[in-house]
Amino acid sequence: MELLRIEQLTAGIEEKELLHGVSLIVGSGETHVLMGPNGAGKSTLGYTVMGSPEYQVTGGKIYFEGADITDEPADRRAKRGIFLSFQNPIEIPGLSLSDFLRNAMEQVTGQRIKLWDFKKQLRAAMDVLQMDAAYADRDLNVGFSGGEKKKAEILQLLMLKPKLAILDETDSGLDVDAVRTVSAGIAAYRAQCGGSLLIITHNTKILEALEVDRTHIIAEGRITAEGGAELIAEINRSGFEKYTEK
């Protein structure tokens, strides 16, 4: 079943167009990989699908489960089941990770969650990610190391259980152990709720534990190649060069 459909999307910042007619379809339960050189528009695509006001859509459409969400604010999209793991998670002083998460869960589900149930779920998810329980009471991302910030993103993924998770460079800047932990978290998300993944990366370590259904190569704001998992291996061998020339 089709979950996300991007049709001829053009978007950018102010006068500068960064995506020049991108089309992409992610089916329910599928794992997609979006690769491309720096500045190709990978993150722009992720942020635009999430509804960042920083990027303006100038043409094309984004559909989620058949509904046109092109003009919806980010919180509406989150409620529909879209999630974006940030490359640089934002620090929010004075807001504890657990208060924030509980609030977000209640917003997304529209239901109150009993504190005890919440704590149990949180504990279990933190265990998957080998996070110290003390992080729950710390201010959101404040003073977290790069690795802890990424783990906290995956923690939110596990708790919010979206239908589509866009992971923007979740593996960047992580050491081998942290990549393994984060991968375990992603695998747990797949196992627990069977959600779709759109993984933005230029590192393939994070993909090792996952079965990739489809790979998209983006260069200079355009999709230049698509294929299955085999495309990743090819990129690993010979780089993006072949796909950046028209």
Binding site: F83, P89, I92, F100, N103, A104, Q107, L115
Partner: protein
Amino acid sequence: MKQKTQVADIDRSLYDFRYEEDAADLLASGITPAIIREISEEKGDPEWMRNFRLHSLEIFAKTEMPPWGPSVAGLDLDNIVTYIRPKSRMNTDWNDVPENIKETFERLGIPQAERESLAGVGAQYDSELVYHNVRKEVAESGVVYTDLESAMHDPRYAEMIRTHFMKLVPPTDHKFAALHGAVWSGGSFVYVPAGVRLEIPLQSYFRLNAKGAGQFEHTLIIVEDDAYLHFIEGCSAPKYYEAGLHAGCVELYVGKRSTLRYSTIENWSKNMYNLNTKRAVVAEGGRIEWVSGSFGSHVSYLYPMSILNGRGAHAEFTGITFAGKGQNLDTGAKILHNAPETSSHIDTKSISKGGGISTFRSAVTVAEKAIGSRSSVSCESLMLDSISRSDTVPVMDIRTDKADIGHEAKIGRISDDAVFYLMSRGLDEQSARAMIVSGFADNVSKELPLEYAMEMNNLIRLEMTGSIG
């Protein structure tokens, strides 16, 4: 956590409802010797107090308006009603409080708070306290918590009051201190004997109901050596077209090695002039901890002062000020290091929105003899839009080079990235902004008892409503 507190469903109407007062209960407006004599008569003042009032009035007449801070031109002192005759004598049984006054406080959650988490409660309605009660075990420990008038007439405390009343804040301090000295009414007297540590707080709640009136309560707290007290004050008033005036006075005496924590959540209506004076004097090894949330008022002048008179005394000031549309809130703190090895820490946050003006003033003075003293001042401001203003005016007067003084100021705005980040997790824009602002204010809410922290967060949420666009 599932238990609801009395402030769970707060909205503006909670503060805005009001009852009509009878014209007959209002003394004539204006400030004249005749009015002062009438107030004094009404209250049955001892002679020294009547003279004190009349003397204060003379000082008031001679003193100019404060030359700094926001304008008080909108305040028509000739038309302020300084005293409203009480409908009721002071009660110690809640059931004896007149019905509409009772309902007012019940809606504000006062008796409930008392049942749940307080050692004693006082409630002032307009000019006089209408209710006062202290838990039995607290009274048995020797702690006195009563209204100032009763204490003044009680032979056990009369002398204590005569020797402490307006000694820290003399009527010559400024024009509104003089006014206070002349027309003060109501307020609390607390006495904590040496060695008594009161672990649960005492609270008083001040409610100004009558329109065009002033509230001039006086709080006098004496904490003897090696003791502990947490005192909470809450203030609110419904909104009228006529400007109201609050010129209260708080005097705190902290004994050796004692700690006094004084928490305030002020939510006067948005047309009040809040010209309040608070001051503490701290003896050797003692601590004063101020926690202050200022949300209401049209104009505020509020700079609680700590005088560190004994070696090793410490002052801590944690405050937040939220200035919305039409508000000009001038707040801060003053510290006088007047003995060696004293220390102070000021940590304030201010938020301005909708054209509101928030000014932070601090004055840290280190006397020549206060060698080895330390002080740090930190103030952070958050402006929620481009029409609001935030100013910082730190003043330091350091008379010894053997002191360690620091100051830090930050002014910022809510980042769009932070709002988007929270929205991407399902929070709507307004909630996302409110959460960021609540987080900004977290240092203060952490210092407040749970139900007050919740009230503060609710106030922030209330203030943030409609802040977009």
